[in-house]
Subunit: 429 residues, 2 copies
């Protein structure tokens, strides 16, 4: 159903156009699955060179999108994400070269054993096939996603937003031509140029061609996928991350971590949104809150308000505990125990990244064991939870679901496994 | 939308009842995540003993279901699956004991490394949380699924069919009591007793409590899940499996494998449905088809019909190439080359299990590399693709999707991973 509660009726033309694109991506994916690492890397490097060589064409296309956005009164933040310049095109090319330099995950033997009847079983890492991505107004995602998909042996089936369609079409065109110039199928990258809502819904239901869909967008995109998608997907969801300052914490370390987790880049999913403080250290720790969190709007429950410097915070609503502020705003709560902190996180956390600051081995062990999240951190900032910081070289997103991939997703998470069973004529008795 | 195209309207009572059950399962899952292997095994053994001790109660409950089914004119095959006797209850108990003896997957360190900034990262295997299973008229699934979920540290949230509800309620009651008797939460197993369609739909949408849904049923259940589910799921789908007899095959071995793959147990998903034969050996190999496939109805395309003994086969419809017959019926096609065989499988296969019989290293390598399926087999029967035969000890199903789990799913596939990051106060620059 559409968000207005009416069944969606898709036009036959849209469904058939999108399906045809899917068939092309699927055909390309069969070739890519057995393409050598050397050939894939050659294509990525050719694409990087082609992007730089086509800077003028790309910037001209981008100017059309930016002009349309400005005329439409789009916010300056969104326009900033949309706008390309020569430096950003260079950065996109750099991203392609960086992915070319990463190890190829395909072919890794994950496991292997011999059965009593002599059957030799191996589990081998193979590409997923067609990786579909729906994304918003960032044209650089077109080349970033294409690179990760190609390196992992997958066809990239991309559906960007209407606001960036002219830029995306130009970038995709350059990449497709570069792939073809080194003998790879152009359809290793297929861009959906129809950006209607109907086209997005048809896209989410292409079970015959799409092996996984990775949405990169806000809550309304996720809601639409939950409602309409029939293809398998991995959700890159909200990060309502907590830092818990334990009674045994080194308070100077805790302050540094809280400052970093909240303020170093508040607009991203691994920034902290709630500060939990053990009551035994609350008075001492929270006295310096203005120095620790300069310019941060604080909200707190009534008991905590009484322990914060006067005027530094206002009362939190129930909703604040579950919100991803993505801004210089933080909820603060004094808790009576480690158990209370763990319970609070279980109730309000989004399963992204949760940190404890402690000098107690027992508290560290309990926190890491009992908190259910993609990443749990001891004495480190939540900001470290991403593909680059984990050493994956690049990331396609951060999964907040538990199936398939959890946490930062690199090349490895764009693969699946295949069992290869070798025998000498065995039959089952 | 319901299959009639109307939006589904769920009654508030159903939604709230199911949601309450979900909250209970979720609460239990938090305890189970940190329950020791010894305690889980003790609960499984207690449950096994309790099942045997409660044989009379269980058989009396089962008799109610069987009587209702007989009165409703249900087919004898279905009634056979539904009917329990003392031996089957013993077998269920044996299943619980077998799972107790398997290694616990929880806590395995999958990976670990140190970053240049000193952060120590490990990836640790943890339970999924709440594993939901929708299944049909087999009461033994209640205890089989419960055992696998408990051993892997998950709460089992089960929704069986109305036809087996009295049996399922009795079995679940015995297990819950046994768990509690050794100090585990009874809600480690929560059975949905409301078996309406509405209840099933409400169940599939409990994103707050269900971490994964594994459907065990036919195409209509799968279609309903694709349409309605918002929780993550793993599809245990059809097996349209092929055996390809290569030009270099040992024809005696090929005949043994084809006989086994088709006839040893035709009703299961890893039985073969289509036989592909290289033209160079077709005449010789197919001459003995009556001996190789006694009692099997054969369908073939016109060129193949000409190579089969007169009267042994009829003409295949286009649909036959994609069908899972699950019966003593097989489609036969002579192909011109290994490429043709691989193309045929790409077009018609369901991605389950695909076998080649060959003595050529090159053909074996190409087939295993190029065929996209959960399992590819060389010189062995497709019938080996299951959890027991792979050595997993038990299986919860066979995934035909590529995300999370592919192929036979044992205890390992009922887990996810968590990143544990340890530092000494690191912040991000």
């Amino acid at each position: 159903m559409a968000s207005d509660g009416q069944p969606v009726t898709l036009t036959a033309v849209t469904v058939s156009t999108i399906a045809d694109l899917g068939v092309r991506a699927k055909a390309a994916s069969r070739l890519l699955a057995t393409t050598s690492t050397a050939d894939k890397d050659r294509a990525l490097l050719a694409a990087a060179d082609a992007l730089v060589a086509s800077t003028d064409v790309i910037l001209a296309a981008n100017a059309v999108d930016v002009e349309r956005a400005e005329a439409g009164g789009v916010s300056s933040t969104v326009i900033d994400r949309l706008r390309l310049d020569a430096g950003r095109v260079q950065a996109m090319a750099g991203g392609l070269r960086q992915v070319a330099a990463l190890p190829d995950p395909v072919g890794e033997v994950l496991d292997g054993w011999v059965r009593p009847n002599g059957l030799r079983i191996t589990r081998v890492r193979v590409p997923l096939g067609v990786v579909a991505i729906i994304y918003e107004n960032r044209p650089n995602v077109t080349s970033d996603a294409a690179a990760l998909c190609l390196k992992s042996g997958n066809a990239a089936f991309l559906r960007g937003s209407s606001g960036a369609i002219t830029s995306n079409t130009a970038i995709a065109g350059v990449l497709r031509e570069a792939y073809q110039s080194v003998g790879l199928p152009a359809d290793a990258l297929v861009l959906v140029e129809e950006t209607s809502h109907d086209a997005a819904v048809a896209f989410m239901r292409l079970r015959d061609s799409i092996d996984v869909l990775i949405p990169r967008g806000g809550p309304s995109l996720i809601a639409s996928i939950l409602e309409h998608a029939t293809v398998p997907y991995v959700i890159d969801g909200d990060g309502n991350c907590h830092v818990y300052v334990d009674e045994s914490a080194d308070l100077e370390m805790a302050a540094r971590i809280v400052t970093n987790a909240k303020t170093q880049r508040p607009s991203v999913c691994n920034a902290a949104e709630t500060l939990l403080v053990h009551k035994a250290v609350a008075q001492a720790f929270l006295a310096d809150v203005d120095t620790m969190l300069p310019g941060v709007e604080l909200v707190a429950d009534p008991p905590t308000l009484g322990m914060l410097p006067a005027g530094s915070a206002s009362e939190a609503t129930e909703d604040d505990w579950s919100r991803e502020f993505l801004d210089l705003k933080m909820a603060v709560k004094v808790v009576g125990s480690l158990d209370d902190a763990i319970d609070h996180i279980a109730r309000h956390g989004s399963g992204h990244s949760e940190a404890i600051v402690t000098s107690s081995l027992d508290a560290a062990d309990r926190f890491t064991r009992e908190v259910d999240a993609a990443a749990v951190l001891v004495n480190a900032s939540t900001r470290f939870v991403d593909g680059e910081e984990f050493g994956f070289g690049a990331e396609i997103g951060i999964s907040t679901q538990k199936l398939h991939a959890r946490g930062p997703m690199g090349l490895r998470e764009l693969t699946t496994a295949k069992y290869v069973v070798r025998g000498e004529g065995q039959t089952r008795g």
